[in-house]
Structure formats: structure tokens, C-alpha cells
């Protein structure tokens, strides 16, 4: 009997941690027990992007979108949806739409999205090369090898106007062209899958959901520049992505799409995996190459650029995962097609990891030029728990904040720099009124100080000094001169640091100072933290109106700072209070006030 339904189960890391593997097994088992195993096919796919609502199960052809599914739901899904043809309303994302199906197109989260990079994530089984091929996979490689010259390939990228998605936005065709022009028998192709920006996971999901797209793209590059060996440098913290890459590499070798004599053309190209080991600076390209060579990951001054002198001194193209994932589509559909998407400055789409205080956190892919408002409010569903929007942070530890005033800026590489942030790799962290902006700046500085490799003084010493000043301010000891010092040191680091880690690490401070000066002033002048986050600047008191005298706070206080009589108002001794907040968290009547 023919397959009637496809059941797609998300097998991304986030959903797997919510037991999507058990859901998969339960669905297979139920289909068998209920006698429909020949009519349905259960597929484990990559990430659907809508992580907030996971684990996700989608049933085709109806396109029914089930959310927060549990293994116990498998019985009902098979019995009702598959056998009786009735949707299981209680599990649908939009329960009100059940009569007409809560289809993917009806879900706001997906409406403004446009998927190029994530085209296969959530549609195919990433561990089955046939499914990739069925969706035009490896068609671009075939075209590149048999119908195009290296110049054609590079020209196609030029027409497309693809810019690097790893952060700097450098035109991809130019990198390839530089490397191609160097006359050298040995050249390398490298994929940067180090994804060190905390709060970003686009590359991970792409590799987990569609590993072949990166392999195909790297092979095309090999053909264009005349390289025969590629390396994927991936974080050791991503075991599932590593596994899927290994499976994909084996399958494509078995199919003659990787290795010796690809598709009988006489062209050889192979790829090896190299593991990162938890150093953020190794995402920087020269440090990354050092790390592949087995050294400490210290950046090198550029020039020479890797395109001329890269891995083991050989000309090397290094691109980010997302950049790679765009390449097969461009070759297959043409640069012309790609160039029509996005803005004049930046073509194509960008994947963002939307996280923080947002209703629908997840992965979103939108055309360049989409506004932040559309991303945060239309796709992301706005701020969670009815709180007030404060800012979005983009560009991770190298970026800055974007405030309400700039929410309508169409985002592309250029516009983000103009408003004092940057595209970065695509982390987009939403903050609400409860987040202290000075604390956030301190958080990023703590990160970059920790991750500075220590090679150059501006970054090593400057970063630490910035951090100490921020600490002083959040402790209530800041002075007005500190603001000038932050600016001065930050400017110096921008100019004098060896690599972009140090050059950009003051950005979170400088950008928050620019947009939230009043909040810095509140900490410095009024010794007050408006969001109540900086412990040294807050105090807890008990509201006599609300206190019922239950004594719970007094019993929980670790330092015995709270005293009182049962059924009468309790009192906090400020001299003993360590501001741990336990009383606040334990009070059932909301009687503990944060001042």
C-alpha cells in the first residue's frame, strides 16, 4: 500500500532534550500496533525552528502542526489523525483553527519567514541522503562540475551578491576569487562551525537538519578554486551535529559525491572534521586555522589574509556554515534569482536565533530588510509575560543594543552598523524592563575578558579595566569620571587591538552608554538600579499591608535577618541582609518589596 501520511518529528537538540526520540519510537510502535505501518512513514527531521513550542510533530499532507507533544500522545495521533482522519485538536498549535486545520501557513511565527538556508530543516531526514537529493540536493554540484567553469561559479556568486554570514559580511565571491588566483598546487576549503556567540544556534541547527548542503557547497568551492581538501572546524559541544556530519560524509562518499573522482568527472575532493575545544576566539579565522594546525588558538595579524596564506601556509577559503548553506541554492537557481531577495546592500536572507524575553523563541529566517519590529512582534509574538520591551542585542559580545526608536529600521549589514550594532552571526537577544543594561554590558565584558587570548595588551588589559569599572558602577561606587574612562579605553581598544575580538569587545559598553545613559547615571548618581537587578543597589522591605505574618520568610532567611511575631508584620534588619532574595521568592503574598 502506498504511503498516505508522512509524520515529521523534530530531531533537533532542543526537541530531543524534550524526548522527541521517544515520541519517534512511540509513533513507529503505534503505527505498527494499529496496523498502519505501511501507510505512514515516520521521519526524524532537523529543527523546525519553533523551539518554544517543542517537541513538534507535523503530519503531511494535511500540514497539521502539533506542538508540545509527549510520547503518550502517539497512540491518539495514530488512532485519530491517521486512522480516522480527525485532527487531535488539543495538540494543535492554533486550537481555534481546528476546523480548517491549523496549518503551517496560518501560524504567525512562519508567515514572514522565507527559507533558503533552512530550506530542508524540518522537511527531510538529515541522515538520509536520498531525501536531500529528492529536494534538488547535489544538483548544484553536478551543474558546477559538468556545466560550469571555475569563473562561471565565481561569477554566479558575484551576481548573487552573497556576503559572509559569519559576522563581517565580506563578499564571498571575492574571497573565492583571491584564492583561485593564487597559483599553488595545494589549497584548502574550511567551514567555520565554531559558533561561539553565546545565545546563537543557527549553525548548529543547519548542520543538524541539513548537513549535506554544507558538504555540497564546500565541494563546489573546491572545484572553483582548485582545492582537493576541506576541513569542517566544529565545536566539540555539538555532538549531534558532528554525528550527522559524519553520517552525511559517509553517505556522499558511497554515492560518489565526495572523495575520489566525484561523479566520474576526475575531480577529487574530500572533507575531514576537526573539533574545537571551547575557545571563543577560535571562531576568528586566523585563530581557527591555528587551532586546526593543533596550536593554541591565537589570532595572527592580517595581511596576509587566509585567501593567500592560510592553513599550513596554503591559500584557504574560510566561510561560515550559513554562508555555505546558501551556495548550492545560488548555483542551482542562479545568482540573479538570489539577488532579488533582500535589500540593495545585502541580498538573500538571514537566520536569527531569537531568544531572551520573547514569547516565541526559536530560529527565524527572514529576507534582509525585514524590520526588527516584524521579527520581535509579528514573528516572535512580542515580550513574554506582558512586560515592556527594552532592547534587542545583536552581534553578541561584539555587537550592541537596538532600542525602541530603531525598531523600524530594515535590517541589513549596513543599517545595523549605522545604528551602532552589527549583524554578527545572528544571535538576537530580547530584553525587557527587568533587565539591567549595565549588568548586561558587564556580562558581555566578563565573557570577552575570559575569552581574550591574551596576546595583545589593548584587549587583555583594556577589557579587564572596562570590566572593573562596570563592576564598580553596579556596586554603587561609580563616579562621573568612570563614564569618560569607559569611552576613552573603549576607543583605544577599538583602534589598537590585534583582532576583531578586542576591537569589538567594547561595543556592548559603548552602545549601551549611548542609548541608556540615564540608566548609567541612575547607578552612578542616584546609586539606584532601576530594574532591581544589581544586588548592591537594592534593598528588600516588607509591605505591612500584604504581610500576613506567616513567618515563612524568617524561616527561609539564611542569615536570620528577618524577625517578627506570628500573625504580625515581620521586619528585615538591613544591616544583616545579604540581599539574596530568598524571602522575595518564598513569600506567598507578594509582601516583599524590592527597592
Amino acid at each position: 500500500m502506498a504511503i498516505r501520511n508522512y509524520i515529521l518529528v523534530c530531531g533537533g537538540t532542543a526537541c530531543e532534550s524534550s524526548h522527541s526520540d521517544q515520541i519517534y519510537n512511540a509513533l513507529v510502535k503505534e503505527a505498527k500496533e494499529q496496523g498502519v505501518e505501511n501507510e505512514v512513514q515516520v521521519v526524524r527531521t532537523g529543527c523546525f525552528g519553533f523551539c518554544e513550542q517543542g517537541p513538534i510533530v507535523k503530519i503531511l499532507p494535511e500540514d497539521s502542526f502539533y506542538v508540545k507533544v509527549k510520547p503518550e500522545d502517539a497512540h491518539e495521533l495514530i488512532a485519530e489523525h491517521i486512522i480516522k482522519g480527525r485532527e487531535v485538536t488539543r495538540l494543535l498549535y492554533d486550537k481555534t483553527k481546528s476546523a480548517k486545520h491549523a496549518q503551517v501557513e496560518d501560524i504567525k511565527f512562519y508567515q514572514k519567514q522565507f527559507r533558503i538556508v533552512l530550506r530542508n530543516c524540518g522537511f527531510i531526514d538529515p541522515e538520509n541522503i536520498d531525501e536531500y537529493i529528492a529536494r534538488d540536493g547535489y544538483a548544484a554540484l553536478e551543474k558546477a562540475i559538468f556545466e560550469m567553469t571555475p569563473e562561471d561559479i565565481i561569477n554566479e556568486l558575484k551576481t548573487a551578491g552573497l556576503r559572509g554570514r559569519g559576522g563581517a559580511g565580506f563578499p564571498t565571491w571575492m574571497k573565492w576569487n583571491f584564492t583561485k588566483q593564487v597559483d599553488n598546487p595545494v589549497k584548502y576549503v574550511v567551514c567555520n562551525a565554531d559558533e561561539g556567540d553565546p545565545g546563537a544556534y543557527m549553525d548548529r541547527s543547519t548542520l543538524e537538519g541539513d548537513p549535506h548542503s554544507v558538504l555540497e557547497a564546500m565541494t563546489i568551492c573546491g572545484k572553483a578554486i582548485g582545492a582537493h581538501q576541506g576541513f569542517i572546524y566544529i565545536r566539540a559541544e555539538y555532538p549531534l551535529a558532528i554525528h550527522r556530519l559524519e553520517v552525511a560524509m559517509k553517505q556522499s562518499r558511497d554515492y560518489g559525491l565526495l572523495g575520489k573522482d566525484i561523479l566520474g568527472s576526475g575531480f577529487d575532493f574530500d572533507i575531514e572534521i576537526r573539533l574545537g575545544a571551547g575557545a571563543f576566539v577560535c571562531g576568528e579565522e586566523t585563530a581557527l586555522l591555528q587551532s586546526i594546525e593543533g596550536h593554541r588558538g591565537m589570532p595572527m595579524p592580517r595581511p596576509p589574509f587566509p585567501a593567500v596564506k592560510g592553513l599550513w601556509g596554503m591559500p584557504t577559503v574560510i566561510n561560515n556554515v550559513e554562508t555555505w548553506a546558501n551556495v548550492p541554492v545560488i548555483i542551482h537557481k542562479g545568482g540573479e534569482w538570489f539577488s532579488k531577495i533582500g535589500t540593495a546592500d545585502s541580498h538573500g536572507t538571514k537566520v536569527f536565533a531569537l531568544t531572551g524575553k520573547i514569547c516565541n523563541s526559536g530560529l527565524v529566517e527572514v529576507p534582509m530588510g525585514t524590520t526588527l519590529r516584524e521579527i520581535v512582534f509579528d514573528i516572535g509574538g512580542g515580550i513574554a509575560h506582558g512586560k515592556k520591551f527594552k532592547a534587542v542585542q545583536t552581534g553578541g559580545p561584539s555587537g550592541g543594543v537596538i532600542t525602541e526608536a530603531n525598531l523600524d529600521t530594515p535590517i541589513d549589514f549596513g543599517s545595523l552598523v549605522r545604528i551602532g550594532s552589527m549583524m554578527g552571526s545572528g544571535g538576537m537577544i530580547v530584553m525587557d524592563e527587568d533587565d539591567c543594561i549595565v549588568d548586561v554590558a558587564k556580562f558581555y565584558l566578563n565573557f570577552t575578558v575570559d575569552e581574550s587570548c591574551g596576546k595583545c595588551a589593548p584587549c587583555r588589559i583594556g577589557g579587564r579595566t572596562l570590566y572593573h569599572i562596570l563592576e564598580k558602577i553596579t556596586n554603587g561606587n561609580g563616579t562621573m569620571e568612570d563614564l569618560d574612562k569607559l569611552q576613552e579605553i573603549g576607543d583605544a581598544m577599538r583602534k589598537a587591538s590585534l583582532c576583531a575580538l578586542g576591537q569589538t569587545s567594547p561595543n556592548p559598553v559603548l552602545s549601551t552608554m549611548k542609548y541608556f545613559k540615564d540608566e548609567y547615571l541612575a547607578h552612578i548618581v542616584e546609586k539606584r538600579c532601576p530594574s532591581g537587578k544589581c544586588k548592591k543597589l537594592i534593598s528588600f522591605t516588607i509591605d505591612p499591608e500584604k504581610c500576613k505574618g506567616c513567618s515563612l520568610c524568617a524561616r527561609n532567611c539564611p542569615v536570620g535577618a528577618i524577625s517578627g511575631e506570628l500573625r504580625k508584620t515581620y521586619h528585615i534588619d538591613q544591616s544583616r541582609c545579604i540581599k539574596c532574595g530568598v524571602c522575595h521568592d518564598s513569600c506567598k503574598f507578594g509582601a516583599i518589596k524590592v527597592n
Binding site: 532542543a14 573539533l275 575545544a277
Partner: protein, 157 residues
């Protein structure tokens, strides 16, 4: 983790090292394998790698100490990681660390006296959509509340 090989390397590990020996840039891959087998990289292991590869110990130690992923001390039977990446930090993952201290008396970087648990801060495990996140022995737990911590630990007792 193969406890029986505390000081020596297993046959598989030695075979792996020999397989990689001639490949340029092998050191980090080999150190990953050593840590996978032994749970951390002891001074003795580093010396042994130095001997097998003919690479000076100072070079190996330089690499081991540069990269956060390599551990210099033996972790507990179950290593707990609490994510302090941006998304998790904003959603209060520090509270998880406080709760673990309360429940197990476990501080960051330490091991419980019975050797059962160790605690480590990490920066983003790539599940930011589920923030705040912690992992125990590699199993990921998302949207962790203070109240959920005891239950999670219980699973590994």
C-alpha cells in the same frame, strides 16, 4: 569513562594515537580522545601523549590549558553543566547554580565528596530556545526552574 585505565591508555586509545600520529594538526583531536576515555587530562596522560607523539610536554600543556573544553581535574561521575550564555543568563540561570549549591553543597568547579557530581559553568549549549538550560551527563534539561532542580538531580542519584 573507563576507570580501569586511570594511568595507562587503553589499546583503542593507543591505536587511535598511532593512526593520527603522522597527520598534521593531530594534537587537539588526540587530546579529545584522551579526555573522552579518561574524563580529563591528567599530568600523566599529557606526559604519555608527549612520549607517544614525540611532542614536548610544554607544547601539550600549552594547548590543554588554552582550551576550556579540556579538564585538568577529574570530574564527578555525573558532570553537571549550567549554561551561562546570554539567553540563559537573562532567564536567571544563576539561580540554578545557587540551588545546586543548596541541594548538593556543590560549587562551580568542584566535585561532591562522594565523587558523584561535579559542576561546571558553560556558555551556550545551543538550546537557547529552552533557556535556562542545564545538562547532566550530557542529557539536556530546558526551562529549568529552581523547583525542578531536586527532581533532575534525583534522576542521577
Amino acid at each position: 569513562m573507563l576507570a580501569k585505565n586511570e594511568n595507562g591508555f587503553s589499546k583503542e586509545l593507543v591505536a587511535y594515537i598511532n593512526e593520527w600520529k603522522e597527520k598534521p594538526g593531530n594534537l587537539i583531536m588526540i587530546l579529545h580522545k584522551v579526555q573522552e576515555e579518561q574524563g580529563y587530562i591528567s599530568r600523566e596522560s599529557a606526559e604519555k601523549v608527549s612520549e607517544l607523539l614525540g611532542v614536548p610536554l610544554v607544547k601539550i600543556w600549552g594547548v590543554v590549558t588554552f582550551y576550556h573544553f579540556f579538564k585538568l581535574t577529574k570530574p564527578g561521575e555525573h558532570n553537571i553543566q549550567v549554561c551561562l550564555g546570554t539567553a540563559c543568563y537573562l532567564k536567571g540561570s544563576e539561580k540554578i547554580i545557587e540551588e545546586l549549591d543548596k541541594q548538593l553543597g556543590l560549587k562551580v568547579g568542584a566535585v561532591t565528596p562522594d565523587g558523584k557530581f561535579s559542576l561546571e559553568e558553560v556558555r551556550c549549549v545551543g538550546c537557547c530556545g529552552l533557556a535556562p538550560v542545564m545538562t547532566v551527563s550530557g542529557e539536556v534539561f530546558g526551562k529549568v526552574t529552581k523547583a525542578a532542580v531536586p527532581g533532575i538531580i534525583q534522576k542521577f542519584m
